[in-house]
Symmetry: C2
Subunit: 164 residues, 2 copies
DNA sequence: ATAATTTGTTAGACTCGACTAACAAATTAA
DNA sequence: TTAATTTGTTAGTCGAGTCTAACAAATTAT
């Protein structure tokens, strides 16, 4: 089979179609154009390309749908996106807008391996028994703000967590 | 002044020129072509574009040099690259080759803010008082391999570090 | 010093992904 | 049910970034 890597652009289109399907049920050329901030003829061209690859279904003046394979790819992009947003916003505490913007770029260029590792890393931190924010991240917050490390006062901390 | 964002491609050229300057002292069209796996006419076109932007100095049949401004930009790309390699390879323990490849893509798309945060995050982890690998990363290694969390045995650990 | 090789350049073509202008079809309002 | 509006399409253009083919200049070897 042909396993050609899609361009960032084409991945964006798939992602948009998936998002609009979820949001509106039906997907029109204009919706895609608006969501991606491109003109309608650009969407048309993209749909033609994606149709040729059997990733979307679209006939003249009709609505747009993902094929089974297209849906798989779209969901992959989506999950890379969500992972990055989580990492940037929730773990590193970067503001949501910037996290979104960066995720929109990075989602296209990451390796499978890095995706897996980062996913696990997030999972590891988010399932941390700490009540709100994992202690080592709290310590990072402190370090980021002050440039200083907290004193290590093992045993004195209510959670028993150390400065790391 | 004109603060046009450079394309990934142009950033790659700047980065390559900087690297070759360090490595060889002198930079030739062929060296760049080889390093970036493109043909020489592509390098020529790029050099023309970068010259127009006053980022490189290059006259017919001469060697290639970065201008002051070009050097600044090249170093910025470099440091984004190095930061990612560090994060992926040293922190997340992703193999060096993959870390390099991913860094080469991500270095072009990251925001200033995310760069700063990640840099600090790495710094925070690498200046951790632990002897080899920060304890929470050791715990992550364990979690990644086994899918399980280490038991929390506060006080019994030689370092006083908790499971986080 | 000349020949062979390497290096650099030019010209021209191609792909990708966007755009505008013009028009056609479908939908909504009167 | 027309008219107005919205939506979709086609055709053609453009810029970025790559390529090949052909040639010119510089360098190295004989």
């Amino acid at each position: 089979m042909e396993k050609k890597k899609l361009s960032s652009s084409m991945e964006d289109y798939l992602e948009a179609i998936l998002a609009l399907t979820k949001k509106n049920g039906i997907v029109r050329v204009s919706d895609i154009a608006q969501l991606l901030s491109v003109r309608k003829p650009s969407v048309n061209a993209a749909l033609e390309a994606l149709s040729k690859k059997k990733l979307v279904l679209h006939k003249r003046y009709g609505d747009v749908n993902l094929t089974k394979e297209g849906k798989v790819l779209a969901r992959n992009v989506q999950s890379r996106h969500d992972m990055f947003v989580k990492f940037l916003n929730e773990i590193l505490d970067i503001d949501f807008k910037t996290a979104q913007e960066d995720a929109c770029k990075m989602e296209h260029v990451i390796s499978h391996q890095t995706f897996n590792k980062l996913t696990k890393f997030i999972e590891f931190l988010e399932t941390c028994p700490d009540q709100d924010r994992p202690y080592c991240l709290q310590n990072f917050d402190y370090y980021y703000k002050t440039g200083r490390r907290r004193k290590c006062e093992t045993g004195k901390m209510k959670t028993g967590h150390n400065q790391m």
